[in-house]
Amino acid sequence: MRGRHWIGFAALLLLAACGKPAADKPAEKEAEPPGLTLKAEEVKSLGIATAAAQTASWRQQISGYGVVTALDAIAVNDAEVMTAQAAAAQSQAAAARARSLGTGEEAAVSREVVEAAQSKAAADQAALMLARRKTDAAFGHNAPWHDAASRQAIMARLASGRSVLVRVTFPLGALGDTLPATLQIARLGANPKSWTTSTIWEAPADSTFPGRGFYALLDGSDMAQNEHVTATVPVGAAQAGVTVPAAALIYGDNEAWVYVQTQPETFLKTRIDIGKPLGGGYFVAGGIRAGQPVVTGGAGLLLARETNPSTEAEE
């Protein structure tokens, strides 16, 4: 039996030796790179142009509109509160004095005078409350000027022009219930300048500014009273990725794509999200590396060629 095994093994070896040498075997078809591969001549004919994807980071932002509140509105409000406050303080003191003078056996003032002083104090207090409520109604409950010192400081900054008070409005539902931690306020126009602030509070509802409103104190800006501005609120964490030029964008199969040149004659259709516009292009978080060439000229015909392969150029 053992001898038969050897014979079998030898026969197998012989058969293997009779087979074609490995070098003679047809080389296995090289796996084609993914994407659309054209001939060099076709790439030239189509006038393919590319631009390199640029490194970028992106953070979602929500936009709103705003206007720099006029100083007179703030000043009038402040003056009303201050006047009411002074009147209330003075009548409070007068009422206290009247009470001490009109108390006991040796009352120096009549009961009638005391009651009048108390009544005046109560009325002035009510006037102060009203002035404060008017302020709250105009600038919100959470305005950072409820104590006199801060109020004075803020008013001094506003009066000097070092700070401006901006009322911003965001579309309903755009921000949810959260109070933004920071706001970026930008000037409108061809060359917008922007400033960031974290002094933000909820503004009361106003039919002339529909939407969800906030007041923001902005330091160091050169914005003028009644100036119209835009406001943006960054949402979520910043992402790292690349930008692709807007000129690269194509639509096919109900999706947005760009063609990435993976090899000199190979173009890979790569899906992007146009919901992340950034500068003159779109932010792409993955799938495209920084520096990779993205097709900006001829992409329409590349798509046509890929969609309808029968239009392949003839030999």
Binding site: L172, L301, T307, S310
Partner: protein, 1028 residues
């Protein structure tokens, strides 16, 4: 007839004078006769164009096209109705039946449209009827490029300087302008700024309308005068518009300029153009229905010549003939004219050689121009142009014309000679009159038979019939005129100029032929069965080979001009992308040494009849006039260039071929496979399968399924709950989207006679960023709401076009046939399509050249049966011997042998020219047979000669010279056409001439040798006929 001939002979001088007057009038009529390349071959059509801005193709189909189709269906004179619905536009093409009053029919359509009333949705423009245009439609394409002028200025020159001047030229139907930049004033709101100020688009539009208000005023009536009050007309001053007040905020006036950029900008483009590969402006001029191409082109060029100096002075380079169909008319008619002059000289020479007398040769020759000029005058009176087809009819009539003249004059000469030898000669005039009348009877019948042969072509209603009909008409008119000349002018001229001594003895070579004929008839008689069997076999082979000769019914015209249809294979490709690739294609084409000019038109022009999206374009390539390149070679070179560009669907056609195919199929290719059904997706699926099945079929070239689906689209799905919560109506959202993206015209400004539209729309940098759509702010009672809050924006794909034929949805696959017979290729294609299993309710239909060829052939066959019956009746009336009728009919098929051999040798297949040639050969052969057999009857019945072999031989020999002369003159007349087979403009006449020459050879031999043998065996009078 006797009195007429008698009168002409007696008053020969007067008749000769009248003849000269008629000749002069004929020449004058010819000089002023309108020239054209072809007769009107496209069925008369009008287009109904309806703009429906912002609607998708399917919406246009449902909301616009279908109601209009329903409204105009049933209009008087309507033959077919086709339509295309594309985004924002519905185009319905109504084709009228033949022989109706087109203007009334067009009026009928207009009345039906006016009854449409409110059936169309709001926002859809009033349907507009296009003018009636001519068959070839294109009149001239003019290109403008400039390094000095801006695209605005270049377009202004075209729009406001050139267009009015060119439209004023009689015969011009419309001037379409592609390219440049249409001047507009755009009010482009900064939506952030506008929203922050709390203004809405409606307020902005109202403010702009207010700023552009235009009202007339009245006048002040003084005691002695009336003084007018003039109000200001808005000027195109962007600053003035920007300064217009929009409203007041914080006690401060806010102007339009505070929240919007007011700028002079190009209008949104639906098309563009490249001239010589450079951005430029292209004017495409079309001719009115029945306007004459040559006259209108010349008038246009005269107008253009007046405009050129001013244009050049401004630094505009003008390409005045990027496409000039008149070039082909000139080339075609020029080469035909040349052929006819050569033919005339050759005919005169051969007449002299055969008649050996200048006077008789000249009288015979004169009969030809007289007949032709009379026919031209009648044609002109009937409103027909002198075109390659009518001239072709004259060319094929030459044989009959010459025969008419020769028979009379030859007989007159012979009789005069015989009379001179008589002891008591009769009067010369009596001999001339009797000799004329002797041959007229059979000639009249023979002419009627020839006319009957051409009747099927005259009455054919197919597109091919529209080509061949005028040819048949010209032929019939020429033949009738010739008959008139032979009965009037010819005997009068004979009476004036011919003497008995003018009859000369035959040339030696004619005597030699007579001797050969005697021997040949004897040999045929001796081997009668073999000869007849051989002829029968050859005839059967010839008839059987007809279907295998291949070729297209309509030939490829060597116009020196090509049209390259170049489209992206997916709809949605942008104008700029197509222009970019167009630049490179133009560069490659201009590198060919024989190309003179190239232009590309992309998309469609305003008010243009094409329903082309930005992904479709057309190049017109004009070859240099002196280019010696073969047309096929040039076409191949263009195909090779286009083949280097992937992603494009391309087709190279000649302009006339393109127009003919378009009139047959509605497509520009030879063949269209139309797939009908209700479900568009199912149609697309079937179309892809059919394209796959047809791919690789031998002969099929330029196979295309122009996919209509796949146009990228953002579909807005409005959320009714969100709309209600925001206090918005659907219309608020749609108005905002339309104004921002399609633009809303809010007024016009005027600079002199130039009107400039003022349009409110989104700035380009926002409009062209798709993400902006979702953040587009819609003004609501509760403040601005982004579009994404009230609508879901879904990227999807829609169709670019929805096409109807006869009110039914269809998609079409087109192809051209190259290097193989049309019918065989189509048969193969049909078999492949038939093998596919189609979904229920879906069916296919082949239309185009092959279908038209079959329809035309069937109609021709039916008419031919009637014509044969008519011919039989004429022959029965003509002949006293019944056998002669059968002999003529039996002899006809034999003439096929030479024609088929000639067509096979020529290799151009069974084209329209070859078919006309075949018909002509039948006519000439029948005519010769009739005259020979009628001569036998004359010999036996009039001259009392007994019917025997000697009489047969004598009759044949007496007819030898006329038959030979007819054959020789016809052959020489057609020879220049046959030699110029590959000349431009002789695509129809060339093959016709070759076919006639081949047929003439076989039919002459048969008439000289075989027919006498047949007559000897089967002919002669029967006993009852002798008694009669």
């Amino acid at each position: 007839m006797r009195w007429l001939v008698d009168l002409c002979v007696r008053f020969a001088g007067s008749i000769a004078t009248l003849t000269l007057v008629a000749l002069a009038l004929g020449i004058w009529a010819t000089q002023s006769a309108p020239l054209d390349v072809f007769p009107e071959f496209v069925p008369s059509t009008v287009d109904i164009q309806t703009e429906a801005p912002g609607f998708t193709a399917q919406q246009v189909e449902q909301l616009v096209t279908k109601p209009i189709e329903n409204a105009v269906n049933g209009s008087p004179g309507l033959a077919t109705i086709r339509s295309e619905s594309i985004p924002g536009l519905s185009v319905i093409t109504v084709q009228f039946a033949d022989k109706i009053d087109l203007y009334n029919a067009r009026q009928g359509i207009a009345e039906h449209l006016s009854e449409l009333g409110s059936a169309l949705p709001l926002g859809v423009d009033t349907p507009r009827l296009s003018p009636l245009t001519s068959s070839t439609m294109d009149l001239l394409k003019i290109g403008l490029v400039s390094d000095k002028l801006t695209p605005f200025e270049l377009r202004d020159q075209a729009e406001w300087v050139m267009k009015p001047a060119l439209l004023a030229v009689p015969g011009v139907a419309h001037v379409l302008i592609f390219g440049g930049a249409v001047r507009e004033i755009h009010i482009e709101p900064d939506l952030k700024r506008m929203t922050s100020y709390g203004f809405t688009l409606t307020e902005l539009a109202d403010a702009a309308r207010g700023a552009l208000a235009l009202k007339g005023a009245g006048f002040v009536d003084l005691v002695h005068q009336r003084v007018l009050i003039q109000t200001p007309v808005p000027s195109p001053d962007t600053g003035a518009i920007a300064r217009a007040v929009l409203g007041v905020r914080a006690n401060t006036p806010v102007t339009i300029g505070d929240i919007a950029k007011v700028t002079e900008s190009p209008a949104l483009r639906s098309g563009d153009a490249l001239v010589m590969g450079r951005p430029g402006v292209m004017l495409s001029l079309a001719s009115q229905y029945s306007a004459n191409t040559m006259e209108t082109t010349r008038a246009l060029e005269a107008t253009l010549a007046q405009l050129l100096p001013a244009l050049k002075a401004q630094g505009v380079t003008v390409y005045p003939a990027l496409h000039r169909p008149a070039n082909f008319v000139e080339k075609a008619l020029g080469s035909l004219e040349q052929s006819l002059v050569i033919a005339a000289i050759l005919i005169l020479a051969v007449l002299y050689l055969l008649l050996r007398d200048w006077r008789s040769a000249l009288i015979t020759f004169l009969a030809i121009p007289l007949s032709l000029l009379a026919a031209v005058a009648v044609l002109d009176h009937m409103g027909q142009t002198l075109n390659t087809m009518t001239l072709g009819g004259f060319a094929v009539a030459l044989g009959v014309l010459v025969d008419d003249a020769i028979i009379g004059i030859e007989n007159t000469l012979r009789r005069l000679g015989e009379n001179a030898k008589m002891a008591q000669p009769r009067s010369r005039l009596a001999v001339i009159r009797d000799a004329t009348l002797e041959v007229r009877g059979p000639v009249v019948y023979a002419t009627l038979v020839v006319i009957a042969v051409f009747l099927p072509e005259l009455f054919s209603t197919s597109v091919q019939g529209k080509f061949v009909g005028p040819l048949a008409l010209a032929f019939i008119l020429a033949v009738l005129a010739s008959l008139g000349v032979a009965l009037t002018a010819a005997p009068a001229l004979c009476a004036l100029f011919l003497k008995a001594r003018d009859h000369h003895a035959d040339f030696g070579w004619i005597r030699w032929i007579r001797a050969w004929q005697t021997g040949a008839i004897d040999r045929v008689h001796g081997n009668f069965r073999v000869v007849v069997a051989a002829l029968a076999v050859l005839t059967v082979i010839a008839a059987a080979s007809l279907p295998f000769l291949g070729g297209s019914f309509m030939p490829d015209f060597r116009e020196g001009h090509f049209v390259m249809q170049v489209s992206s294979s997916t709809p949605g490709t942008s104008l700029d992308e197509m222009l970019a690739v167009g630049k490179r294609i133009s560069r490659d084409v201009l590198a060919l040494p024989y190309v003179a000019t190239i232009e590309q038109q992309v998309g469609r022009a305003e008010l243009g009849e094409d329903t082309w999206g930005p992904h479709r374009s057309e190049f017109h390539v004009e070859l240099k006039a002196d280019a010696s390149v073969d047309q096929t070679e040039a076409e191949d070179a263009l195909r090779q260039i286009l083949a280097r560009y992937p992603g494009l669907q391309t087709e190279v056609v000649t302009f006339l071929g393109d127009r003919i195919s378009e009139s047959l199929t509605g497509e520009t290719a030879d063949i269209a496979v139309k797939i009908f059904g209700d479900q568009l997706d199912a149609l697309d699926g079937v179309a892809h399968r059919v394209t796959g099945a047809l791919s690789g079929t031998p002969g099929i070239s330029d196979l295309q399924f122009k996919a209509q689906s796949g146009t990228p689209t953002f579909a807005l799905h409005l959320d009714s709950a969100a709309l209600a919560a925001s206090g918005l109506k659907v219309q608020d959202v749609l108005d905002a989207v339309q104004t921002n993206y399609a633009g809303a015209t809010v007024g016009q400004t005027y600079a002199g006679i130039r009107a400039v539209n003022v349009t409110l729309l989104l700035p380009e940098n926002a409009r062209n960023r798709p993400e902006f759509l979702s953040s587009l702010m819609i003004a609501s009672p509760f403040g601005p709401v982004p579009l994404s809050q009230v609508a879901r924006i879904v990227p999807t794909q829609t169709r670019y076009t929805v096409a109807h034929d006869g009110g039914q949805r269809f998609v079409s696959i087109t192809f051209n046939v190259v290097g193989r017979g049309l019918q065989a290729t189509v048969d193969d294609a049909k078999a492949k399509v038939a093998a596919l299993k189609l979904p229920p309710g879906v069916y296919t239909e082949f239309s185009g050249a092959a279908a038209a060829q079959t329809a035309s052939r069937n109609q021709l066959l039916l008419y031919t049966v009637f014509a044969l019956l008519l011919i039989g009746m004429i022959l029965f009336i003509c002949f006293h011997w019944r056998a002669n009728t059968w002999l003529v009919l039996a002899n006809l098929p034999f003439s096929l042998i030479g024609s088929v051999a000639a067509i096979a040798l020529m290799g151009s297949g069974l084209s329209v020219g070859a078919m006309v040639g075949l018909v002509t050969v039948f006519g000439v052969s029948a005519r010769n047979a009739i005259l020979l057999l009628a001569h036998y009857e004359h010999l036996v019945e009039v001259e009392g000669v007994p019917w025997n072999a000697g009489t047969v031989l004598r009759g044949a020999q007496e007819r030898l010279v006329p038959i030979l002369m007819t054959a020789a003159v016809t052959a020489l007349g057609l020879m220049p056409l046959a030699i110029g087979l590959h000349q431009p403009g002789q695509e129809i006449e060339g093959p016709m001439a070759v076919t006639v020459l081949g047929g003439l050879l076989s039919s002459t031999l048969l008439n000289l040798v075989v027919l006498p043998a047949l007559a000897e065996r089967f002919g002669g009078p029967k006993s009852d006929e002798v008694a009669a």
